[in-house]
């Protein structure tokens, strides 16, 4: 397995690696609200290579959607504020430093987004054909007629039969699965290099979810686009992505190939998450739980954010904040694996060092 890790050192100011399509470095997105500052994304770094599928896993409130919206620059600022050292490199340009005009060109054309709720993300008063054609006309100098043809083609590409009739229909005339196909068609209509899918199947039933995941996979094979798949469902991650990052309260806590993360989780949070999923082997036994709840974003604990809920917590966790960048290799943010300041050898010695050397 390639050793390219998804996490990079943050805010270095050096030019982006040519291997990467997208490089997010030390991203901070904070919301200044009446009661204080919510650090929704707090120092997140990762990279996506062309054609790669990266899964972003985490529970509600961990900052995964905000990360996506920041990349697309779709957040209202204020209240959102992005850290000054943060960088988002996409094909040699820092998206955070583009003008609104330039950014509009990137959206849809280079990076497209598929949202969770297909009903609210489609405009109810326009036909689906109009909505796809609008996107096409925004980005290409084509007439309406040609844009409409393109819309029909892209509906066909996502497996909607009778697309000539479908383009004339309004979103309410379609089922949930069909609407999600329309969203995907819209995202594909301008041949993006990166697709960000934010919980694309969460609102759908399993049989429809299977259709949509199959579709996303096929589309990706056909177009060679990279995919950033945001989800809370570890099953979806296991079936769809190559690499995964796990987020917890605004931080990346673990990263690796999907096999590494799901079969040999390192971070106690990932471990807890996996063991709390009900499955057939656990029938009759109590489920493991991660005790407590996600910390209040206005009042983060000192040191490691996960420490108050962590079963392995020890004296290094309270005062010191583990950073994934400090780990070697940088794949987990936990004092069990990295020597904390003033502490000797970390409790879990890493068996992976030889494999790094041979690679």
């Amino acid at each position: 397995m390639a050793v390219t890790k998804s996490v990079l050192p943050g805010g270095s100011g050096r030019p982006p690696s040519l291997d990467n399509l997208l490089e997010v470095r030390d991203l901070h997105t904070h919301f200044h609200v009446m009661d204080g500052v919510v650090r929704a994304v707090d120092g997140v770094s990762f990279a996506i290579r062309p054609g790669q599928t990266l899964g972003v896993v985490g529970e509600s409130g961990c900052g995964k959607s905000v990360t996506a919206l920041t990349i697309m620059r779709l957040l209202d600022m204020p209240p959102a504020r992005i850290g000054e050292t943060s960088e988002i490199w996409f094909e040699g340009r820092d998206l955070l430093r583009l003008s609104e005009e330039e950014m509009r060109h990137v959206r849809g054309n280079d990076i497209a987004m598929i949202f969770q709720e297909p009903m609210t993300s489609l405009n109810p008063v326009f036909t689906v054909g109009d909505q796809i054609a609008e996107a096409v006309m925004q980005h290409h100098a084509v007439k309406r007629r040609a844009a409409m043809d393109k819309a029909i083609d892209s509906l066909k590409a996502v497996g909607i039969n009778n697309p000539e009739r479908r383009v004339m229909q309004y979103p309410h005339e379609l089922s949930g699965g069909m609407r999600q196909r329309v969203m995907i068609a819209m995202a594909l209509s301008c041949d993006p290099k990166l697709i960000i899918a934010d919980e694309p199947t969460t609102a759908l039933d399993v049989t429809i979810q299977a259709q949509i995941l199959e579709l996303i996979r096929t589309v990706q094979d056909d177009t060679g686009a990279a995919l950033m798949l945001i989800t809370h469902d570890l099953g979806v991650v296991a079936e769809t992505v190559h690499d995964a990052i796990v987020m917890y309260s605004g931080r990346v806590v673990e990263t690796g190939t999907v096999e590494e993360v799901l079969l040999a989780p390192k971070h106690p949070y990932t471990e807890g998450l996996l063991s709390s999923i009900p499955s057939k082997g656990k029938r009759g036994a109590r489920l493991n739980v991660i005790k407590g709840t996600v910390p209040n974003p206005l009042n983060m604990p000192q040191g490691c954010n996960f420490a108050p809920r962590c079963p392995y917590r020890f004296d290094a966790c309270g005062p010191h904040d583990p950073r994934i960048e400090d780990a070697n290799p940088p794949d987990v943010a936990c004092w069990l694996y990295t020597a904390a300041p003033g502490h000797g050898i970390p409790p879990r010695v890493r068996p992976r060092v030889e494999s790094e050397a041979t690679a």
């Binding site: 039969n161 089922s175 196909r181 399993v206 096929t218 099953g235 296991a238 079936e239 079969l263 489920l287």
Partner: protein
């Protein structure tokens, strides 16, 4: 119905394990030919032009002490069934009884007494708690309504004590009574909903998607709690959910619904290991597995669920059935409604061709399963 019940007895002793062990427990809730239609009004005069057949002739029994799981996709009628059963809405037809007492014919004081025995836990922990009421009122309202001389719930000190006891039973602090719902997290709110249902001392609890709105780490806390409470208070659950892994974990027997009908019913292990209805097979194969090593053989169903206002003739699943296709589209799937028949002790299935569902056919179907297929129109209603 014979002794064939698969849950292993050794495991049955662990906490929260199936109580329905070797011999089948006696029936607690018996549902016969339950029908629930919602009228569709149309035209200028708003005349009735049709019916949405949400639940269409469903019969099964829930045994005392068991968790009966009811699964199906959205719109299949599983929640309607649960709500109709405990008389949150009137049935269109059929009958049901709890412990021999008829449910649908009760009126007045009798009905009120009956309601105490059957409670419900809702899906949405936000929408199901009144934001203007403190927790003491949310839980206390039902107690007050059901107060009589025997239980003494009319007395405010008794009531407060009971509210606090139940808050504690669901893992919340006793002094939370004066707080309001917005002060709690989703998992805590769901606990409040559970306390509200259990405070009335029910025997039978309908759990309508109780964990679907929760994150995985909170979900497992609530599932553990539900199983603990079942033991502590001798409860019987009708557990409605669309998440197949959750249902597999918690249920003793499972019914699978499709378009208002139960198409398959079996003990949980039997159903998951040896599904016989082509819909169940496809549904189970669609669940993504969190183990990346197992690439599942998957049968991707075509299109969407047809409209329950105009369900297909014969077998309702025939429009999407992969098995029918493999068998060369036999005529009786379209013309004859399959009988809900027993194919093995305690395993019932509504399919003419259930015997053709074997490992071999499933494997072949999965291998040839068309990946991108056209979604059929939901037939212009």
């Amino acid at each position: 119905m014979t002794e064939r019940a698969v849950p292993s007895v050794e495991e049955g002793t662990a906490s929260g394990a199936p109580l329905a062990g070797a011999e089948a427990a006696p029936t607690l809730v018996d549902i016969r030919n339950l029908v629930k239609y919602y009228p569709i009004h149309g035209g200028v005069l708003r005349r009735k032009v049709g019916d949405v057949k949400a639940v269409d002739d469903v019969s099964f029994d829930v045994r005392r002490g068991e968790v009966f799981g009811l699964v199906g996709e959205s719109g299949c009628g599983k929640s309607t069934l649960g709500r109709t059963l405990i008389r949150l809405q009137p049935p269109t037809g059929g009958s049901a009884s709890i412990d021999g007492e008829p449910i649908f014919t009760k009126k007045g004081a009798d009905l009120k007494r009956l309601r105490r025995r059957m409670q419900i836990i809702f899906q949405d922990p936000v929408g199901s708690l009144n934001p203007r009421m403190p927790i003491s009122d949310i839980i206390g309202e039902g107690l007050l309504a059901q107060a009589d001389r025997e239980n003494g719930w009319g007395n405010s000190a008794n009531r407060t004590k009971r509210i606090e006891d139940y808050l504690e039973a669901v893992g919340l602090r006793r002094d939370f009574t004066r707080r309001y719902p917005h002060e709690f997290s989703g998992g805590q709110r769901q606990r409040i909903g559970i306390a509200r249902a259990l405070a009335l001392d029910p025997e039978f609890v309908v759990c309508d998607e109780p964990v679907s709105a929760l994150d995985v780490s909170i979900q497992s806390q609530i599932l553990n709690l539900l199983l603990d409470l079942r033991r502590e208070f001798n409860l019987t659950y009708l557990f409605i959910a669309h998440n197949l892994s959750v249902v597999q974990y918690i249920s003793d027997r499972v019914g699978v619904m499709y378009l208002g009908k139960i198409v398959e019913l079996a003990p949980v292990e039997e159903l998951y290991e040896n599904p016989r209805h082509p819909y169940t097979v496809a549904l189970l194969s669609a669940v993504p597995d969190s183990d990346p090593r197992t690439r599942k053989k998957r049968i991707v169903l075509r299109g969407d669920v047809p409209s329950p206002a105009a369900p297909p003739s014969g077998c309702r699943f025939h429009t999407r059935c992969w098995l029918r296709e493999r068998l060369g589209n036999p005529e009786n799937c379209v013309t004859e409604e399959p009988e809900f028949r027993e194919i093995k002790g305690d395993h019932r299935v509504a399919c003419h061709w259930a015997e053709k569902v074997t490992e071999g056919t499933v494997e072949k179907a999965a291998a040839e399963s068309v990946t991108i297929d056209t979604a059929e129109p939901i037939s212009a209603v």
